[in-house]
Amino acid sequence: MSDDQSLLSRRNALKCMAYGGAGTLFALSGGVFTPIDLAMAASDKQGAAKLGKPLFVQISDTHIGFNKEANPDVRGTLTQTIDIVNGMSDQPALIIHTGDITHLSKPAEFDLAQQLFTRLRTTEMHTVPGEHDTTDATVSEYFNRFGKASDNKGYYSFDHAGVHFIGLINVLQFKPGGLGTLGADQIAWVTADLKRRSASTPIVVFAHMPLWTIYEPWGWGTGDADQLMSQLRRFGSVTVLNGHIHQIVQKVEGNMTFHTARSTSYPQPVAGVGSGPGPLKVPADQLAGMLGITSVSVVKHPSSLALNDTALA
């Protein structure tokens, strides 16, 4: 009997390992996150229903135009991502793209990306640029298409379902040898923007590069992000989202949860492994499990958000 039980639990453990790539679900209550294996959460229908209506889906680092060995078909993997989002029974109200829409800021790449995005059933999409979106000589291709929301500044805020969203740009003012930068103007703007909100307003901040230092030698951080964080601490629920590093890394600090999303295009190495943060070549059958999307739901209490990662496989 006890042997059977150990076999059962071992089988469950193996089952969970098989779904390991699917990601982790975080339920937030009173500022404390409870990590739940996504496969377990999905098999527990009642528990999943408690997550509430999906608020928005984060997609990131689509890198349209990339065609190297690490993923010769970034158009296909983005299409797959869009299919997954379109297949959700409860459609999210918003899509948030955390940058590197294109690989080389070329007009044709932006055009193809926009054409693919039109297939999304959810039509409201908010973006911030990545450094791959701003390499054209005049830094105009991104802003010509997506600059309207921010009056071409790259940073802006909006409200949805009682949640205050702030999109920030940290890829334009690189200090040589340093990290991404928000800059004095943007910090002054965000200071004024936050001042008008009550501490009970759930805040979602999104930018391309991490707003916390993950690995300085590869520039995985934002040099002046501390000036922003000090103003976010008074809020009861703060979710900070970014892309850039093509893998999931999370941190919880007080009422703030930091989450970096997977890419829909290609994976990157873990911090410090190899010569730099370039495309990571993995066997074809492992690729989909290393790409993905993040959906965010409003949890029972209106000031709580839950993150939920989905891999393409």
């Binding site: 690490a70 690989h103 080389l104 000589a137 200090k175 040589p176």
Partner: protein, 114 residues
């Protein structure tokens, strides 16, 4: 017959050119890539690079990841260079010029123009 004569002529021309290079451009023959910077493994190489005033420097990306070349003072800026793409800039004034890759700002380099 004509063909063979043409080949011989071409060979002769080639020898004359080679001879001229040996006589007039000995330093170029010794360091053939004196104005080239290779971008590989997230590094500019060589750096610092010393060139004569009036030289055109060419950067070529040998990584799978795109890179850029952006002057710290805004004097020059490449677009995103994909694998095997190049960017060139002519340096007319002596001085020290620092540059970085805007996609990977830890990548830095220097050109010294004499």
């Amino acid at each position: 017959m004509n063909l063979r004569r043409n080949q011989m002529l071409l060979t002769a021309v080639g020898m004359v050119i080679l001879g001229a290079m040996e006589v007039y451009l000995p330093s170029v023959a010794e360091t053939p890539d004196a104005t080239k910077i290779v971008v590989k493994n997230f590094m500019f190489n060589p750096t610092p690079l010393t060139v004569k005033s009036g030289s055109t420097v060419t950067w070529t990306n040998k990584d799978d990841e795109p890179h850029t070349v952006v002057s710290d003072t805004g004097m020059f800026k490449s677009g995103g260079m994909d694998t095997n793409e190049s960017f060139s800039y002519k340096f007319d004034k002596p001085g020290t010029y620092h540059f970085t890759c805007s996609i990977h700002p830890r990548m830095v380099g220097t050109i010294v123009v004499q």
